[in-house]
Amino acid sequence: MFWIKATTRFICAWRRPDEMAREVETELRFHIEMRTRANIEQGMRPDDAQRAALQSFGDFERVRNNCCQIRRSLPFDSTPLRMGLHITIAVLAGLAALWTVNVPHHNLTGVMRQLIAIAVLAYLFIVVRRARTKRRSDSEHMNGVLVAPSETFRANQSLTSDMSDAAPAKITAYDQQGRTPVERVFKS
């Protein structure tokens, strides 16, 4: 059932992007309106209440774009798909290289084939480099979060695995004296 819903959502997001964006916007505007009402109930003037609601919401455009981007993303982990694509490219590049070796280079066809093989190999090189760079940045990101203390325990692994491209959420934890966790550790 989930797959049917997710696939339908994914197709709709690509087929009717305007409708999807409108839906996201309606949802976000509802939030701001609810916050404005709450502010008015607390005694603020309507203008001030709306301004405060917008301020506490954060960057509306950024949030809307993030939501639309998530909605347009594949409804499953695309890593195996990308790996398959990379393997296919590698096989094609290998075949192209073999083909080049077996062709005499003194005529136009031979030169053309050689150029094609070089182009495919260059593409493969770029793909591999990009994959390596991405992996390095991901591992740097994870190092910045936490290092797992044991083999079986990985801190919030499932939730943080694809956080590298997501906008970080701003959460602040205060204790009863209004101190943040860092302040509690260093100012106690």
Binding site: F2, P75, N156, L159, K170, T180
Partner: protein
Amino acid sequence: MPKSKGSLLQGTLDMLILKALSLGALHGYGVGQRIAQISGDALKIEEGSLYPGLYRLEQRGWIESEWDVSDNNQRAKFYKLTRAGRKQLIIEEQNWERLASATIKALRAV
């Protein structure tokens, strides 16, 4: 209250959303309210950052949404936890407890 801010571990927001929705279906605004309520107003979330979190969780099949009418007769999108989401919440709670106890242990080390 001091203005200085500290960030919690990434992924915390997603876990809090799952927790809030485990108590019943809510719209996005309600999720924020419930997180504040269950944390005794100790956690302040930038409200806009809730929505990418909600969309991400829905994309993973841990929550699902449908449009309905809110208490004030407005059209609103309500989210609820799925069975997969409930299982994930248990895993995340266990992970979080391990992390918290490991961190406390490390901080108390002499």
